[in-house]
C-alpha cells in the first residue's frame, strides 16, 4: 500500500515540476524598425540576415528547441508580423501556413478560407526559403497575389504553402501595410 501511495505521490509531484523547455514564444529580437519603405527583400527581413546562419544566436536557440523525436510531427516556423514582431511556432506538418498562423493567433487574415479567392493571407517568404517550399504558385494564386499590397518576388499565399518536414527554421513575413490613396 505504501509503495503504491509513494508512487502516486511522486507522480503528483512530477506534474508540479516546472516545464524546462522554453515556451514556444521564445525570446526573439524585436525588429522594431522593420517598416519597408520599398519592397526590398533585405529590408523586410533585417536584422535576420540569412537563415539558416550557424553564427547567429537566434539559430542556436532554435536548434536547442529541436526535439530528438525522429517521427517529427511539427517543425519550428517563424512568423514576423506587420509590426516586425517575431513569433516562433510549432507548425504541424501537412497544415498550410495560413491555418498555422490562425492556430497560433498570429495577425494574418484569411477571408476566403483558402479557396484562392482573395489575397488576405499574403506572406513574404524569406528569399533563402522561397525555392525550398516544394511548390510553385499556380496561375490562380498569381492572379490573387497580383492584387495584394506589398508584393515581392518571394510572395506566396499562406493558404497555398503546406508545411513539410524540411521547413524547420522557415521564416515568413506578413508584409507591413503600405497606404494607397485614391
Amino acid at each position: 500500500m505504501s509503495t503504491g501511495l509513494l508512487t502516486a505521490t511522486l507522480r503528483n509531484y512530477m506534474r508540479c515540476l516546472p516545464l524546462l523547455k522554453p515556451s514556444h514564444c521564445s525570446r526573439v529580437v524585436h525588429c522594431s524598425s522593420l517598416v519597408a519603405p520599398t519592397r526590398s527583400r533585405t529590408t523586410l527581413f533585417a536584422p535576420f540576415k540569412t537563415v539558416p546562419s550557424e553564427s547567429s544566436n537566434h539559430f542556436q536557440s532554435m536548434k536547442r528547441c529541436l526535439s530528438d523525436n525522429s517521427e517529427k510531427k511539427t517543425v519550428k516556423v517563424q512568423f514576423i508580423d506587420r509590426d516586425g514582431d517575431s513569433f516562433i511556432v510549432d507548425a504541424k506538418i501537412g497544415e498550410n501556413l495560413m491555418k498555422v498562423a490562425h492556430q497560433h493567433d498570429i495577425d494574418l487574415e484569411g477571408a476566403c478560407e483558402g479557396t484562392l479567392s482573395c489575397c488576405t493571407c499574403h506572406l513574404v517568404v524569406h528569399p533563402d526559403w522561397y525555392d525550398q517550399l516544394g511548390s510553385e504558385p499556380c496561375e490562380d494564386e498569381l492572379d490573387m497575389l497580383d492584387m495584394a499590397y506589398g508584393l515581392t518576388d518571394t510572395s506566396r499565399l499562406g493558404c497555398q504553402v503546406v508545411v513539410r518536414e524540411n521547413f524547420e527554421g522557415l521564416v515568413v513575413r506578413i508584409p507591413p501595410y503600405e497606404p494607397q490613396y485614391t
Partner: protein
Amino acid sequence: MWANLHENMLIAKRSVLCNITNKSVRFKATKIREGPGLDFFITSSLDKQSKKERKRLPRWLQTQIPKGKNYSKLKDDLRSLNLSTVCEEARCPNIGECWGGGDTDTATATIMLMGDECTRGCRFCSVKTSKNPGPLDPMEPYNTAKAVGSWGVDYIVLTSVDRDDLSDGGAAHLAECVRQLKIQVPSLLVEVLSPDFRGDLNAVENLASSGLDVFAHNLETVNRLQAFVRDPRANYKQSMDVLIKAKESSPGLLTKTSLMLGLGETDNEIIETMEDLRANSVDVVTFGQYMQPTKRHLKVKEYVTPEKFKQWEELGENMGFAYVASGPLVRSSYKAGEYYIKNIIEKQRDVSNVND
C-alpha cells in the same frame, strides 16, 4: 478488541500517510525554493503575448442571445423562400433586436440578394467568399417581393454580395428586385445597399433609376486604410464615384454611406471623409463599431466609446447631413435609422405634393 485493532490500523495508516506526505511536502518545498523562479516564465515577449490577445468586449457591446416568436418566424420564412440575410451571414450583433421586433414590435431584416457567396474577400467581412458563386436565381425578385409582402413591413433594406463574375455585376437583377417590390407593395420604402459594380457607372445608373428610395453604398473606412480593410478591387474613389452617380441618376434619391470605426483611423481622417461626403451631396452617414467576426479577420484596434460616437453624430448633423446614425452597434441598415429616413422621404413627398 476488533474495534481497537481497527482503530490502531487507522492510526498507523494515518501516520504512514503523514510521514510520506510530510516528506514529499518538504521535498517539494525544497525543489520550489531551488527551482526556476517566476521570472523564468516572464519573458520579454510579454508585450507580444498581450498583443496577441484580443481586446475584451466592453460592456456596451454585449447583446442578447437572439430568440422569440418573431425571430423564429422570420427564420422559417426566409428558409422556406430560399433567401439569405446579411444579418446571419455577417453575424450582426443586432440580429436579436431587429428580428425580434424591438420596442416597436416591427421586425426588420436586411435581405441579402444574389446568394450568400461573394467574389471578394475583405478583411472585415465574414460573408463567404468564392471565385465562382452559384448562378443567379431567376425567381429571386419575385420571392423577395412575396416574402416582404407577407411580413407587412413598410421599410425594407436589400443588400447584396459582390458579383464580379457577372458582366454587369448583377445590377439588372437588383433593379428587377426593386421593381417587383414596388409592384407587389407600392407603399413600401426600399433601401438598397449596393455593390460598386467595379466602378461600372452604367450599372449604377440602372439600379439607381429602378424606383428605390434610398441608395446606400458603404465607404467602410477612411482613404488610407481602404486597401488594408477592403478587398483590393474596392477603393475610396470608386465608391465615392458610385455615390455621386447614383445622386446624378435620380436627384430626389437619398444617398447613404457607412463607416466602421475602431480599425486604426484617426479623427482627422474621419472628418476629412465626412467633408468629402458632404461635398458630394451624400445625405446620410452611419458610424458603427467594427467587431471582429472570426479569427480569420482583422482584430479590433480600438473600442470607441458611446460618448465618442455621439460626438460624431453631432458633428455630422452640424455639417449638414440629413441624418446621422452613430453608435457602437449601429450598422448601415440598423432599424433605428429607418424611421427617421422614412420621415424625411415623407417630408420630401409632402413638399413635392404641395408644389404640384
